[in-house]
């Protein structure tokens, strides 16, 4: 028989048991909570973030490639050295030691940075692996590495003006890097898909080499070449010289950074006769069989319009164009309607407005405030309105292409993208303009742009440069250029080369005109890029068709003369 405890003792025991049970329950619950906590997820490691680190711009940027996927800009991982002065035994000694192994770091400056207080100080950003090893060897407490991203442009100078560059925080400052900042920056863990440019690196290289060679040979101050796909209006190549290495933009002078193709405007001279011819032919008042009196200078008020390649006789429209007659072009423009028509036509081609492009370096054209007859005359041969080369090649693509005005782009246009724009000239006018351009290469001022096997059209320009800061023109400095279209029977590409202040050499007999300086550059580009782009050799029947048009005998003022004969006579007197 078990003796039963007293009622009081029994109650005490029960209470003790309850307290004990509660303790056990609490212990198990806490163990359980800890278990759940441990199973529930990993512990995030505290990242070393600088003060205001959350405000720092996102350094991640999408890659940039050319239209075939060749890498033009990418990010690579780099380390930066950061310091926590509080954890350093002797900040001054640390500063001295670091300055010895890190190139470009000044010990005194570092000491003041450490002494400023706070627990974060940049020591050097974007160090090399050698420097990393050197810092690790020092084994200093309070000195750490931070993983960062650095923008690199592996192609160096080749695509500099299109790409632009970024600052040390990977924020775009120029070119596509600035223009597409929002599209490029940030991204998911694996980054945004690369941005594809319209540039074809293969062609860009050819253009870069040819333009550089032209610049060197003619000792020009600068140069610009653009290749435009006439069907899609994609810029296939764009080179502005002098250029710079986007990896080291701080070393580039403003002159190197200047994009002469888009952000500088020039009075392009005779190149504008493509526009004037297109306008005259489109007006319906002038046909390719008309003749204009270029026998003596054209007097407008107190100004006289003269010809550079003077022929001193009546010229047919093809002759006016191919021999680049200022007098003939001015007369042609007046015959087509003069000032009002000219302004409307330039407006329709977009030559009076600031062009739209994906890069910020664009400039509005310089347009005269008043437009008297003399301005109409000078604008017809390219003086008085200053436009950027890119803007002008867009206009040529319209006039010698399908007649529609479509803005150019530096981004790849998807194959199914609708390419549409207002029609500026008819298909017939465009065909006539191409024929005039072909004649200019075949027997006019641009014969040096000819490439055996291809049918090329072109127009030369040699413009007097305005004197800086004053009215009037510098008689010495010229701007020589050539705009070409090839193949002329089925236009695919427009090429514009412009040389700023070229100097003639012995081989050019001292001439520095577009036909002597810019034309060989274009010829070289076409000869090298054509086969690469799969442009086939011209069919003999295409050339025959172009030549046949010369056999027409226009009847004017009771005089008949085969156009072909006119050219033959002109060639003799040239």
């Amino acid at each position: 028989m078990v003796s039963r405890p007293a009622a009081g003792a029994n109650a005490l025991t029960t209470a003790r048991l309850r307290v004990l049970a509660l303790c056990f329950v609490l212990a198990f619950v806490s163990i359980g909570i800890r278990l759940v906590d441990m199973v529930g997820g990993g512990h995030a490691e505290a990242a070393l973030v600088p003060p205001g680190g959350d405000d720092a711009p996102d350094p991640r940027r999408a890659d940039i490639t050319d239209r075939n996927g060749a890498l033009l800009a990418t990010n690579i991982a780099t380390l930066s050295v950061v310091g926590d002065p509080v954890r350093m035994n002797d900040p001054d000694a640390v500063a001295t030691a670091l300055a010895r192994v890190l190139h470009g770091v000044d010990a005194t400056e570092l000491k003041t940075r450490f002494a400023r207080g706070g627990r974060f100080a940049w020591i050097k950003r974007q160090i090399s692996p050698v420097e990393q090893a050197a810092v690790l060897d020092l084994g200093l407490p309070g000195v750490e590495f931070r993983l960062g991203e650095r923008r690199v442009y592996p192609r160096g100078n080749e695509v500099s003006h299109v790409l632009g560059f970024v600052d040390i925080d990977n924020q775009g400052l120029a070119g596509i890097e600035y223009g597409l900042q929002d599209a490029l920056v940030g991204g998911s863990e694996l980054g945004k898909p690369p941005v594809r440019l319209s540039i074809d690196l293969r062609i860009q290289r050819i253009v870069h080499a040819a333009t550089s060679a032209g610049l060197r040979r003619f000792r020009a101050d600068g140069a610009c070449t653009i290749v435009l796909d006439m069907a899609t209006r994609e810029v296939v190549a764009l080179v502005s010289l002098p250029d710079f290495d986007p990896n080291r933009p701080e070393r580039a002078s403003p002159e190197q950074r200047r994009n002469r193709c888009t952000s500088s405007v020039y009075e392009l001279g005779s190149l504008f006769k493509v526009v004037s011819a297109g306008m005259a032919l489109e007006s319906g008042a002038v046909s390719v069989h008309d003749r204009f009196d270029a026998s003596e200078p054209l007097q407008i008020g107190r100004y006289r319009v003269r010809d550079y390649h003077g022929h001193n006789r009546w010229l047919t429209v093809p002759e006016v164009f191919a021999f680049s007659s200022n007098i003939g072009t001015a007369r042609m423009t007046f015959a087509a309607g003069g000032e009002e028509k000219q302004r409307a036509f330039l407006k329709a081609l977009g030559l009076l407005d600031r062009p739209v492009l994906e890069i910020p370096e664009t400039t509005a054209p310089l347009v005269p405030e008043r437009w008297p007859d003399i301005v109409t005359a000078t604008v017809s041969y390219g003086h008085g309105v200053a436009v950027s080369p890119l803007q002008f090649i867009e206009a040529v693509a319209t006039l010698a292409g399908d007649g529609r005005r479509v803005p150019a782009t530096l981004l790849e246009r998807p194959a199914d993208a609708a390419i549409d724009g207002p029609t500026v000239v008819s298909a017939a006018t465009a065909r006539d303009v191409r024929w005039l351009m072909w004649l200019t290469v075949d027997r006019g001022t641009a014969t040096q742009a000819a490439v055996p096997g291809y049918l090329i059209g072109g127009k030369t320009g040699t413009a007097d440069k305005p004197t800086a800061g004053r009215r009037g023109y510098d008689g010495q400095a010229v701007l020589s250029s050539l705009v070409g279209v090839f193949p002329i029977d089925a236009p695919r590409f427009a090429v514009l080369t412009m040389l700023d202040e070229p100097k003639g050499d012995a081989k050019t007999y001292g001439y520095r005109t577009g036909g002597w300086t810019a034309a060989p550059v274009v010829a070289r580009i076409v000869a090298e890029a054509g086969p690469l782009l799969g442009v086939p050799r011209a069919a003999p029947e295409s050339e025959a068709a172009l030549r046949d048009r010369l056999q027409v005998t226009p009847v004017m003022n009771g005089r008949t003369r085969r156009m072909e004969d006119g050219f033959a006579a002109a060639s003799l007197t040239r």
């Binding site: 199973v39 690579i76 080749e158 010829a523 086969p531 086939p536």
Partner: protein, 136 residues
């Protein structure tokens, strides 16, 4: 009655507890593995980007041009691109595809083909085109 089930329940509890802990540790190690692999992927991705940049740097124009020059290579020119029909003796190739039958004097019927000429006449190429742009 209940006492009969107690050992069974104890065994079940033991099995369940063991199972739970095994699963737990499996999850923990899997998570560790995921983190490790993610870091590996990230590192590989950076390595890949660096290599791509390296490659792009190695195939830049001035370097390739120097190498091509050392190998005595020629730029692509239109004069080197011809359509098949432009190649001399192309007609012979066409003829060679067709078998012709003939009867020999002894009455034997045979088939023969034209043997294509081995050398191609490249006379269709204009001379002088190669010199284009070569002077500078």
């Amino acid at each position: 009655m209940i006492q009969r089930y107690v050992p069974v329940l104890l065994v079940l509890i033991l099995v369940a507890a063991t199972g739970l802990f095994r699963v737990k540790y499996a999850v923990v190690s899997a998570e560790g593995e995921i983190v490790r692999i993610e870091r590996e992927i990230e590192a590989e991705r950076w390595r890949l980007k660096t290599l791509e940049a390296d490659w792009a740097y190695l195939v830049r124009a001035d370097r390739l041009t120097a190498q091509a020059r050392a190998l005595d290579m020629q730029p692509l020119r239109l004069s080197r691109v011809v359509r098949a029909e432009q190649i001399g003796n192309y007609r012979n190739l066409e003829l060679a595809r067709e078998a012709r039958s003939a009867l020999l004097p002894d009455g034997e019927a045979i088939e023969f083909r034209v043997k294509p000429v081995a050398t191609f006449d490249l006379g269709v190429l204009e001379s002088g085109a190669d010199q284009l742009g070569a002077e500078w």
